[in-house]
Every structure is written in C-alpha cells, then in structure tokens.
C-alpha cells in the first residue's frame, strides 16, 4: 500500500489509530511552510545587502580564493530563496529538503566552530557568545541560533522521509501521480 492510498484510508476512518498519521501529515505541511518561510526570510535579508553577507562569509575563512568567496556570497542568498519557494509551494520537496540539509548542517558546524573560537579567545561562557553569524538576523546569541538550526535540520530530515505531501503542487519530480496531491 503506498502512502497515497494509506492517507485516503486514514481520512475515511475517523477515530482509528491511523487518524494520528493524518494529523501528523498536516503538522508536516505546517513544518514545510515554516521551513520554506525561514529560508525565504534568510535569503531575502542577505540578498538585500550582499556586501554585508560577503564580509560575514569571509569571517569563516572557508575559502582563500576571492572568486570562490564571491560566488558563495552572491549565490547563497538567492539559492536559499529558491529552496524556500520550493518548500512553500511543495515542489520537489524531498530534493529541496536534502539540499536544505546540505546547507544547514555544514553551516551550523561552521557557526559552532567560530563560536567555540570566540568563547575561547574572549574567555566567555559558550551561551553568552554573540555575533552576526550571517544568518540574516544580525547579531544573535549563538547558543539559541544553534538550537534553532537543529530544529530546522530535524524538520528537513522529516520532510526528506516523505512527509508534508498535502497541498503540495508537485511533491516529487520523478514519481508519477504526485501532481496536485490532495
């Protein structure tokens, strides 16, 4: 039984154990929208001031070549907006979730590394460390930013497993019968 059939049965049998699955799918849809909106917000705030974002990316010393640094700072904001729009509208959701993971995980590790360096250099407790991590929100407490990123990572992983199909324009690009779900 595929997920589509299962969800239809869930809708027919109210009060049954599978009803919880139906509710969780709506939660997943809400999660997909939240993740999409977060990506759009983060991308727009960076795209509006790309030079500020360029300076912040440089602080991470990711690349020594200025050309690569420019590519990262120029493309990332728009790429985030694109992924956010896919998640919000429900197009290629699992692919977009995987790409989101590919951005969130390394970026969170970089922020963690820099926060540890700042805490060590300034002799501060980790959860007091505050800086502009290039996340689009200005200067933030890194502890709370990492918790927020962990939540986004878990949300992306949940969508990657195939959740959040409702109200999706085209949940999967390469599977038949996915357009205009439910």
């Amino acid at each position: 039984m595929d997920l589509q059939q299962q969800t239809k049965i869930e809708a027919i049998a109210p009060g049954s154990p599978v009803k919880r699955g139906c509710a969780s799918d709506w939660v997943a849809v809400a999660g997909r929208w939240v993740l999409g909106l977060v990506f759009i917000y983060m991308g727009v705030s960076k795209a509006l001031e790309p030079d500020e974002f360029l300076k912040l990316v440089r602080q991470y010393e990711l690349v020594s070549n200025f050309y690569l640094l420019n590519i990262l700072a120029a493309a990332l904001p728009w790429f985030e907006i694109f992924c956010g729009l896919l998640l919000l509208t429900g197009v290629a959701v699992r692919g977009a979730a995987l790409v989101s993971l590919g951005m969130l995980v390394p970026f969170s590790l970089l922020v963690l590394k820099r926060a540890l360096e700042v805490a060590s250099a300034k002799g501060l407790p980790f959860c007091v460390v505050k800086f502009d991590c290039g996340c689009g929100n200005g200067e933030v407490l890194i502890c709370s930013k990492l918790v927020e990123n962990l939540a986004l990572i878990l949300l992306s992983a949940w969508l990657l497993l195939g959740n959040g199909r409702r109200l999706a324009l085209r949940f999967s690009l390469f599977e038949r019968g996915q357009a205009g779900n439910y």
Partner: protein, 198 residues
C-alpha cells in the same frame, strides 16, 4: 533514494542557475571577478580591551590593529578629536577638507557626518566619477564607516590612495558610531550636493 538524489541534483542545478542570474541582474549584486578585500587577511579574534579614546566604539586592540594596517599602507588613522577639528575647520566649507562616508546608501541616509560625501566601496564604480574630482581638489580627506571592526573606510581609503596622494587621506577609526555617541551633529538623507551619478 536514487530519485531523491536526482531530485536534489536538479534542485541544486536549477537553483544555482537562478541564483547567479538573480545576482547578475540585481542592482546590489556582487561582481564575481572583483577582489573586494584586496588581499587583506582576516584579523584573529581578540579579547577586547575597551579603549577610552574610542568612546566605546572600538577596542584598543582593534584600533591598534587598524593603525598598524593603515601605516603599512601609507595611510593614517585619526581619532575623534582630530576628526572634530577637521570638521570645524573653515576649509571644509570650500571642500578643501572633505569627509567621505564609505557605507552603503541605506546607512548613509540614516545619518552621516554633515556634508560627508557617500562612497560605497562595494559599488565604487558608481561613485568614482563624482568623488575623484572632489578628492583631487581637497587638501585633506577623512574617510569613515561605522567604526569598530568596520573595514570599509580602510578599503575605501586604500582604493582612493591609488588615485590621489595618500598623504592627504585619513581614516577616522571611531566612525559614525563614535561621532554620534559624542552627540556631534548628524545629517540625514541625501547630501545637499549629492553626486549626479547616484
């Protein structure tokens, strides 16, 4: 799983194409082939020691680092007292002393040193035609940005130093943050003699 990977690759490819196209058409987009930091290395994270001279806007180590960097580049750092002195000098009214704000237009409009000309270092090609004649005419040029860790004034001064004599270029390290913290006058909006090109 293979389909998900394929889908992710498609998302990445289309996303990258759209991202580069959007950057290219955006008026604020970055020039991919420009070395914005002109080979400057990143300063290590330092334990801050508040500098009494900075008015709380820059740490002693930040200002010392900036002074050393400027000296190596043949430029000089000035403090708030010297910036105020130059601001009050009558020659400023004849543009013999000019102030240059190296921040972007949005920050400039929010408040700048009265009479300062805007010169957004990251989009300098839009400003050079108006700024260069002013710099050539001026006897002393004060460049500033936000202050503290802001590098834009140094980068802008370095760029201008390739065009006009470095001897007349000064960087006000405290920047607009120190200026406003001292309760000195600030002008909002456009410069009254805003460059025609911007």
């Amino acid at each position: 799983m293979r389909k998900v990977l394929l889908e992710a690759a498609a998302v990445a490819l289309v996303g990258a194409i759209i991202a580069f196209a959007a950057n290219a058409v955006s008026p604020r987009g970055l020039k991919l082939n420009r070395d914005y930091f002109r080979g400057q290395t990143i300063e290590p994270i330092a334990n801050p020691t508040p500098s009494p001279a900075s008015g709380g806007t820059g740490t002693k180590s930040e200002l010392e680092t900036l002074a050393a960097q400027l000296k190596a580049e043949g430029l000089q750092l000035i403090d708030g007292a010297r910036a105020r002195e130059l601001f009050d000098d009558a020659r400023r009214r004849q543009d013999e002393i000019i102030f240059i704000d190296a921040r972007n237009l949005e920050h400039y409009r929010e408040g700048h040193i009265p009479g300062a000309y805007q010169f957004d270092y990251y989009h300098y090609e839009d400003y050079l035609a108006a700024i260069v004649p002013l710099c050539q005419k001026a006897q002393q040029i004060v460049v500033y940005c936000t202050g503290g860790k802001c590098e834009d004034s140094r980068l802008a001064a370095k760029l201008l130093g390739d065009i006009v004599s470095k001897e007349k270029l000064m960087v006000y390290g405290g920047g607009i943050t120190e200026w406003t913290s001292k309760g000195l006058p600030v002008e909002k909006g456009e410069h009254t003699n805003a460059p025609a090109t911007k």
